[in-house]
Symmetry: D2
Subunit: 367 residues, 4 copies
Amino acid sequence: MAGSSFGTIFKITTWGESHGKGVGVVIDGCPAGLSLCEADIQKFLDRRRPGQSRFTTPRKESDAVEILSGVFEGQTAGTPVSLLVRNENQRSKDYSEIASYYRPGHADYTFDAKYGFRDYRGGGRSSGRETIGRVAAGAVASKILAETGVSIRTYTRSIGPVAISPDRFDPDEICANALFMPDAAAAVEAQAYLERCMQEQDSSGGTIECVITGMPAGVGETVFEKLDANLAKAMFSIGAVKGFEIGSGFGAAAKKGSENNDAFLTAPSGKITKKTNNAGGILGGMSDGDPIVFRVAVKPTPSIARAQQTVKKDGTPIDIRIAGRHDPVVVPRAVVVVESMAALVLTDLLLLNLSARMEYLKKIYTD
Amino acid sequence: MAGSSFGTIFKITTWGESHGKGVGVVIDGCPAGLSLCEADIQKFLDRRRPGQSRFTTPRKESDAVEILSGVFEGQTAGTPVSLLVRNENQRSKDYSEIASYYRPGHADYTFDAKYGFRDYRGGGRSSGRETIGRVAAGAVASKILAETGVSIRTYTRSIGPVAISPDRFDPDEICANALFMPDAAAAVEAQAYLERCMQEQDSSGGTIECVITGMPAGVGETVFEKLDANLAKAMFSIGAVKGFEIGSGFGAAAKKGSENNDAFLTAPSGKITKKTNNAGGILGGMSDGDPIVFRVAVKPTPSIARAQQTVKKDGTPIDIRIAGRHDPVVVPRAVVVVESMAALVLTDLLLLNLSARMEYLKKIYTD
Amino acid sequence: MAGSSFGTIFKITTWGESHGKGVGVVIDGCPAGLSLCEADIQKFLDRRRPGQSRFTTPRKESDAVEILSGVFEGQTAGTPVSLLVRNENQRSKDYSEIASYYRPGHADYTFDAKYGFRDYRGGGRSSGRETIGRVAAGAVASKILAETGVSIRTYTRSIGPVAISPDRFDPDEICANALFMPDAAAAVEAQAYLERCMQEQDSSGGTIECVITGMPAGVGETVFEKLDANLAKAMFSIGAVKGFEIGSGFGAAAKKGSENNDAFLTAPSGKITKKTNNAGGILGGMSDGDPIVFRVAVKPTPSIARAQQTVKKDGTPIDIRIAGRHDPVVVPRAVVVVESMAALVLTDLLLLNLSARMEYLKKIYTD
Amino acid sequence: MAGSSFGTIFKITTWGESHGKGVGVVIDGCPAGLSLCEADIQKFLDRRRPGQSRFTTPRKESDAVEILSGVFEGQTAGTPVSLLVRNENQRSKDYSEIASYYRPGHADYTFDAKYGFRDYRGGGRSSGRETIGRVAAGAVASKILAETGVSIRTYTRSIGPVAISPDRFDPDEICANALFMPDAAAAVEAQAYLERCMQEQDSSGGTIECVITGMPAGVGETVFEKLDANLAKAMFSIGAVKGFEIGSGFGAAAKKGSENNDAFLTAPSGKITKKTNNAGGILGGMSDGDPIVFRVAVKPTPSIARAQQTVKKDGTPIDIRIAGRHDPVVVPRAVVVVESMAALVLTDLLLLNLSARMEYLKKIYTD
């Protein structure tokens, strides 16, 4: 089935395997008249590029993006924007060993079960490299959002047991440390924790938080195409994600209505807002005008150097050690992936919302 | 936009407001040759019907379903199955008060923000009655799954602070108590907790767990149409859901790779399986043949009799008390909604997976 | 597969068989704020109702529509509009004979081939009654178009060998004769021709023409979602349609470029228009601001009383005569179906076009 | 909106402008296990390549295709197949003149009307080069069809007033002349006609016919996703198409039921077939097992060297002559485009039909 497309109006289709010729994305439905150049996209890709700190794989890939279509004289033309990143680091390595068994925590077994065989070189389509297409498209979506007054801030909330503290929250710190944590002290502690994981040939999980401001109220469709439902799908489409919550999230389950309800009030500006934000900025699947706040849980990198038990394709047990150097934690590099997927969802729903009222139709066609 | 449809092959479209003439669903893409009668569907609807215990609203609605099309001589005919439930309890009540302000925790404000006005009678389209269509369709999907060897068990995992204990887990207990908890002692405790909430004119949240067995391995599409991504969207499309996790879920974020990876092993039957199930039965977005396990967090019922602060449509502050008797907790009635949405996702992905291999195409057309 | 839905934003889903409990449609994605009542829809349904002249089947069905949802205080609420028409004329007739063989020109054989069996009562899902849902939805789309300044005129262009003459074209005549021909003399001739067909226990084909005025230029998507491509699909989704052409149509194939090209010119109003309209109002799949003109060819009613050869389900030859009185020509009743399908296409593409430019996005959200 | 995708299961997305960096297509949903190499695709692309005869533009482009993803060890892997053809012939020509006015018969004006501006270099997205992506994808679809026993034959039926004669029909002749006509005498006559058009600085239209054999009966969905409806849309998505008819087509409109109905009979093999094929192999939108036969009308090339009237962007009248050498007729190069679009429709509907029966589901999952 066609599972590589995302979105209804602003629709992206990603393609490419980790060890094929390249990876890319086609963005169909980008409105005409957005100024766009390769640097706009490269800026996003650089945030997920490997080799930026000792906590990411030291593989060197420049991941330089090429715009193949859809931009004319510096502006989107309304036609599909095709973006290409060539793979550089495809050494003619011997994959015969990895081809013979199923790595725990990876999609090796399920790919075989689905298709009868798999591209066993470096994860194939389930590799983290697939996210390059998402991030490149997310960069374009983010430009559209910026022009509509919407901004997104995404950061690492925890690494293993080390979480940021609300008291020390400092947005300027996010880009100041290798882990993208908005808390300098927590970042130091988390780095020490990761050092220990690496010494133990192990890896760590973590959580990412995303805060969206400036969304007009009423965006998101009722019933199945709710804003939160689409964010949940977007986040769970990212490889290592195991949990998603919005606003008070799992905490809401233990609360009482009187604690969880957010009282409406009128801001001095006259805007209707809420006293608290347990709703996380979404009511009935539509934005309520307050910040949209969500968190995702990311599992530890499954590729670890420690010995692990598994089976070969024929079912024979085997003890393996996964060679090569892998990210001890994927969270920092996943921050921009989370932000990109959020941008895609918001852009698509903003565009869909243009057909919500007869009034809008008249404003465009008959005014 | 068209937000009331769900699914690609097995596609449902729900319609109806709480105080309109009725609610219903059209199922398009149901395979021909499934035996189906109204009793098959009614059985599911009865699980969400109000008035079954003192913990659900005492409104009386029979919620009797009528099959309007798509079934011929007791079998689905391949054509759309249209299901209708007439609303019975639409008293010509005075809604002018509720129309004038925004209830905290409800979609009143966001509906107004989106469409410029709203059907203010009892929640309109964001009412829990909308789920009748989902449950009716879920009943049909569940019949298809049963014929394919897939079964689903869904139950209440916690009510407020009261959670079931793994030691006392008893599947036979699920239907034996009003809260659908598989733990008799926890059910007693949770009922006492709910009594206190009701005395305090307050409400409670909770969590629901779902376990799916018998799924063939390899179902779910890679990249955006992952099995877990579709389950996440399905669950977040349910009104009160604030969190979703699969397998080790948020717990995975604090774990190390060596703890979270599930070793593959070969069962005595020769089937490849896993030693543990932190993956929750899904790897790379595809079923791995082990049980699929997920949890959702449900917020407390926002309609409470206690005094609350809010604003009128024009922004003027107002203190309100929501009259009428509402469910003090929606979790027990949401259990079958969660199960139905899961059934819809699984059925659709099973059907989509039929096109995964050239081998299947040949098996159907040229054998 | 889900083949009963049409449209992307303004999406309809029809359901129902000719001899089931009823037929209907769910319209999802209708913008909020359109005034709508049952009479608006009934007016369209009455144009396709049987029993209006001696050239339509004398079956009596009132085809009264009921709005079940989506309209609040006389306006569409942004939620799905569910429309129901109960079947009245389902006599407990003996269909065992018709069940045993395949009627020429009907879908009996192909339904069996697809699903393994079929609802043999009166055509089931392939009955003309299925178009009730389309016409009901088309009535709603037409109201949206009217508010945007778009109007549609549809009429019978020919019945068998009798065609209207451009010299006698009179729009006021369309509703003045039973055949909906804009040419009184041709209508008289065509009626005489149909009388002869009926005496011979035979039936006739014909053509329908549709002219759309007031479409803003630039509507329709490039490449696959062209305006003409969507019209073509819409028309061929109607049971008896065998041909579709736009503008100069098949005539263009025999022409030279210098004859077929339409010179652009500037109207006194300053609007850019064309000297001729061989393009039929569409260039590159987008409306060019001139009238959109297309024609469809409708085959003769396959149900005729004359003796015909066919086979039984098991392949045995059999001579049959189809009993009952059928429309000797479906063209007049199909006129409103063609108009409705056109209205659905235009409305959907007008709504989709709202996301064509960054300028529109800013106009709605930031002005 | 996203108008560059086609298909539901076997879904393609094309991208690229005539004078950008290249053109391409992403095929998502191709079943795993199809043997595929670049030569399979190149063979199709060579059929539409310019410069093959004096009746096509003499531009030289090798149009060499590169498979960027989705094929592993010579077989499709179930993942997206990304195909790229770099543009070679993008001379830094001066397009300022063409940018200033609207060419008759082209999409210049409508592109401006839709997006506010356009890529004026050589037609941009509405250029014939866009069809490269379709043909590349059509080559893959055709391989799937071949393995399922379906074959397609497409040819030129007429050029201007010169049509093939049924008496002289010779399939071996199709590839033996530059016009792909299955009638040697007609080809000679048509070539003479084209020579005259070229001398007159004019161009010609024509018709293409397509015959599909080997389709199993019952493929195509009822109501909106009919096989003929999808073929009609596919054909009208091709730039110059102005008409489409199936089986007896427009001829059916003038016929009587007794003439147009096809009697069913049983072939000596026991297969149910039809005495005639006015239905064109489709009944009720589903294949009936007999050959599927359709025709498309193609308008004359709008780019002609003769003087033409038009207007500038500001509405000022201007007389133009379109420089450069253009195809005097697009029909021969469009033959493979028609065949490719047909292959895409058939493949998608074959895959969708796998979910038509419970029996198929059980055959794949429980046998």
